[in-house]
């Protein structure tokens, strides 16, 4: 099946000829996202510049029976923007204006194609702060963040994207425009529709404007790097910090394999012989930062930290944080294919989960690097393999299956932040149960009776 002549003609009318692409090169370049081993050619790629254009495209999709996949920067890790049959990729990156920073209400109004890092920069100019900072912060779009409900390095203290979305403008799959939410901190008028769209992975509507909550920028910040001889010591340090009623903004850990890859890339003097390192950051009032960081260092030493390095200035702190953000990509230095997951467990179960992951890797003779957000129980076990070896890939999938089951058994989830997309839909029913999945399906049908918007993602 391919696009009808009417569909082609109308697409060109709606977005203009320069914004409709379908050469073999363009189709290849929009066939993938950051997910390993998934790709499919779309029929066409369109670059939208306004909400009315998106509305017209979606109406056309219903009339001419083609599918639409919204796409920001294509950095998601669950196959969320992989095209399906007879589909058009709708790219939002040209809708990239920061419409308003409102210091009196502490809000920002932005278009979906704005890069996440730019929002924090713009907020910073007013002494404000946009906390969610996914590893991909410099390239991910805020639209993609909302659709995936992305987390980040500061999740422990500051929460995830959902905690900062006050309101949305959305084009529904039928082409209608819907606005939900307000600048008010308190708003209980009807169902909280915005919450339905957050994390909906581009299946319920195309987000065209986002009203975000901002915070005052913390006056002080201290970044520390603790080195451990054993993973369990790092895990216990984390538990102990939290037991002492300290909520640092960042508690990230890297295992030995990941440390080596990151150091190979970033060359910032990470200890290559350590079993684990913990990147810790606390921010807030200078006095509190002083007190908390001293306590954290003490606790790390109490759990046999070999060394705790304190970043001497903002540049060194940023160097450490960006090295951590590069962890996933840096692991690709070890092998042609890296398959990473984001199984998440309650913090108290971290030790058990890591031990299980290591055993599973051994059992299936797989090389693995583990890193992740220790503070919020969100792990990133990453298998280092080669997609040209189908037998190995099969072992990887079996291992992941067992890891997901274990995460669920420990009271955790199959995905903490990357979303279900195509990659994990086989595991969703085990996690959400039949009733949960039925509700999701009927919601999808209510919003998208023509099944035109990103169908086949999350569930079939």
């Amino acid at each position: 099946m391919s696009l009808s002549a009417t569909a082609w003609r109308r697409l060109v009318e709606i977005v203009g000829p320069a914004n409709v692409q379908h050469s073999p090169e363009e189709r290849i370049a929009y066939s993938y996202d950051a997910t390993p081993m998934l790709a499919r050619l779309p029929e066409a790629i369109i670059f939208v510049e306004s909400s009315p254009q998106i509305s017209d495209v979606l109406k056309l999709a219903n009339a001419e029976s083609f599918k639409v996949v919204p796409r920001g920067s294509g950095t998601n890790l669950s196959g969320g923007t992989i095209p399906m049959e007879n589909c058009v990729v709708l790219v939002t990156v040209k809708m990239d204006k920061i419409l308003e920073i409102d210091p009196r209400n502490l809000t920002a109004l932005v278009e979906p194609g704005v890069l996440t890092a730019r929002i924090d920069e713009a907020a910073g100019a007013h002494g404000l702060f946009y906390p969610p900072d996914p590893g991909s912060i410099k390239i991910s779009t805020i639209g993609g963040n909302v659709a995936e409900n992305s987390g980040g390095l500061r999740g422990l203290k500051y929460g995830v994207t959902r905690d900062y979305v006050l309101g949305l403008e959305v084009i529904l799959p039928t082409g209608e425009l819907l606005r939900c939410g307000t600048k008010c901190v308190k708003d209980v008028a009807g169902y909280s529709l915005k919450d339905l769209f957050i994390g909906s992975e581009g299946t319920l509507g195309v987000v065209t404007q986002i009203l975000l909550k901002l915070l005052p920028r913390p006056a002080a910040r201290r970044t520390m790097l603790a080195t451990f001889e054993a993973m369990t010591d790092a895990a216990e340090t984390v538990s102990d910090i939290i037991a002492h009623k300290i909520i640092p903004c960042t508690l990230e850990f890297l295992d030995r394999t990941t440390i080596r890859c990151v150091e190979d890339y970033a060359k910032i003097g990470l200890p290559l012989d350590a079993e684990a390192i913990l990147l810790m950051e606390t921010d807030g009032h200078p006095v509190v930062v002083e007190e908390e960081s001293a306590r954290m260092i003490e606790l790390a030493h109490a759990h046999h930290a070999r060394d705790v390095r304190i970043a001497k200035d903002a540049a060194e702190a940023e160097g450490l944080a960006s090295a951590r953000r590069a962890a996933f990509s840096a692991l690709a230095r070890m092998s042609p294919t890296t398959i990473l997951e984001d199984a998440t467990v309650p913090r108290s179960e971290l030790g058990a989960m890591i031990a299980f992951i290591q055993q599973t890797a051994e059992k299936y003779q797989l090389r693995i690097g583990i890193f992740g957000h220790f503070g919020d129980g969100n792990l990133h076990p990453t298998f280092l393999c080669d997609e040209r070896n189908p037998e190995e890939i099969k072992r990887v999938h079996t291992a992941f299956g067992e890891i997901f089951q274990k995460a669920i058994a420990l009271g955790g989830t199959i995905t903490g932040e990357h979303g279900v997309g195509l990659a994990k839909k086989g595991f969703l029913e085990d996690f959400a149960g039949k009733a949960g999945l039925d509700v999701m399906r009927s919601l999808k049908h209510t919003f998208d009776p023509g099944n035109v918007l990103n169908p086949g993602k999350i569930f079939d």
Partner: protein, 425 residues
């Protein structure tokens, strides 16, 4: 398709190294300008891989265009956590384009044959033509380049650097020894553009090396480093030139081979990829040093204190120093060591100025946009001098400053250092 699929000859693991994470996108000037995945590093690599897989025809015009729209600035390589070797990929991809004939056209073919295969292939030809052109006052160096692409004639002329009165071999003896017993013995590459347009920088380089106890050997049999050909799809020719250089420099007797042009240095440090079977290349690649890198490594003599008031100097990072060779702090260190220099940081110092080899000729619009952006940042620093370690950047920024009426000197950092040693600063 004519000839073998060159991208298929490239080790597949080099292409596979890219995990399409997208971390490189915001650092790519062509992606930033277009917001098109096809004009991003990740997109280009995907296209190359498609050609290698046989999923995309190598003679497709858009493929060719994208490969040449790329600046080759290697910003993507610096930022890529996965260690992707973009430099090698783009060379193969362009060679593929040339062998596939997608960019063929009678005129372009003739121009390439003249410029890449004839003019730059033998240093004496370039010098000869350059000398000849000098006679014609108004023409300047531009004519040789104008032949490359006759578009935008007038603009181009202004853009190309002036030919020097004397070329390097007139200014530099084959062997020059420091007054005190030498600490090191080094070879010097004079380059091609550097040689005819900036031979004074070569002289300055020799002076600075002498002042720091290095005996300098400048073999007459050396040739162009091959980067111009390598970056433009003429890999065979690049190999030939590389071999000539391997023959010309007596590796065993030299502690280092010094290069003062970022583009040449970046290419010469990768001869092992170009000539994997030549037994000399490993040692060669180890011995090639950028001048800044070498000086900081051996430690320099402090220049005499200056009586002049301090001058604000800013530093533009040539792509093939910062991204191609990861040399970023050394030039700053040298500049700071010069009495009377107040170094001020240039915003976006590592963003390409649009010179990019012959890019300013082949892609004038994108090149101009980048140049304007660069000049705007330079103007904002209030510096009187901008230092940069690559002849292409010097020419490009001089042109940009002149066009926008900005009164600023554009010089090689080594020229400033040489002047300081001579007591001219």
């Amino acid at each position: 398709m004519s000839g073998p699929n060159l991208l298929q000859q490239l080790d597949y693991s080099v292409l596979q190294q890219c995990i399409h994470c997208g971390m490189c996108l915001p650092t790519c000037p062509t992606y930033e300008a277009t917001k098109h995945e096809t004009s991003s590093p990740r997109g280009r690599i995907a296209l190359m891989r498609a050609v290698a897989d046989g999923r995309l025809a190598p003679n497709s015009p858009q493929f060719a265009d994208e490969m040449y729209f790329c600046l080759g600035c290697l910003a993507c390589e610096t930022v890529c956590p996965a260690g992707v070797n973009y430099a090698e990929m783009i060379e193969y991809a362009r060679a593929e384009v040339e062998s596939g004939g997608a960019k063929a056209g009678a005129q372009r073919g003739l121009i390439r044959a003249f410029a890449l295969r004839w003019l730059f292939a033998k240093p004496h030809r370039l010098r000869w033509i350059a000398r000849f052109l000098r006679v014609d006052e108004a023409a300047g160096f531009s004519r040789a380049f104008v032949l490359l692409l006759p578009r935008r004639l007038r603009d181009l002329r202004a853009q190309q650097p002036k030919i020097c009165d004397k070329f390097s071999f007139d200014l530099i003896r084959e062997t020059e020894s420091p007054r005190t017993p030498h600490r090191y013995r080094v070879g010097l590459l004079v380059g091609c553009v550097q040689d005819v347009a900036y031979s004074d920088v070569n002289r300055d380089t020799v002076d600075v090396l002498l002042a720091n106890g290095c005996e300098v050997f400048t073999p007459r049999g050396q040739s162009c480093c091959g980067s111009l050909m390598g970056h433009n799809g003429e890999l065979e020719l690049a190999r030939k030139l590389a071999r000539q250089n391997l023959d010309a420099f007596p590796l065993g007797r030299l502690d280092a081979i010094i290069v003062n042009s970022a583009g040449c240095g970046s290419f010469m440090k990768r001869y092992r990829h170009l000539l994997p079977d030549d037994p000399r290349v490993k040692l060669w690649d180890e011995k090639v040093h950028d001048i800044h890198e070498w000086l900081v490594r051996i430690g320099i003599q402090a220049p005499r204190e200056s009586a002049q008031p301090t001058t604000r100097v800013t530093y533009h990072e040539a792509c093939h120093l910062v991204h191609g060779q990861k040399i970023s702090q050394q030039p700053r260190e040298l500049l700071r060591a010069i009495p009377g220099v107040e170094l001020v940081e240039l915003p976006e110092a590592t963003w390409c100025c649009g010179s990019a080899g012959i890019y300013n000729i082949t892609q004038p619009e994108m090149s101009q946009a980048l140049l304007e952006r660069k000049v705007k940042h330079i103007a904002a620093t209030d510096a009187l001098i901008v230092a940069t370690g690559n002849p292409g950047c010097i020419g490009q920024i001089r042109y940009g400053a002149q066009k926008s009426g900005l009164d600023i000197k554009v010089v090689h950092p080594i020229t400033l250092l040489a002047r300081a040693y001579r007591g001219e600063l």
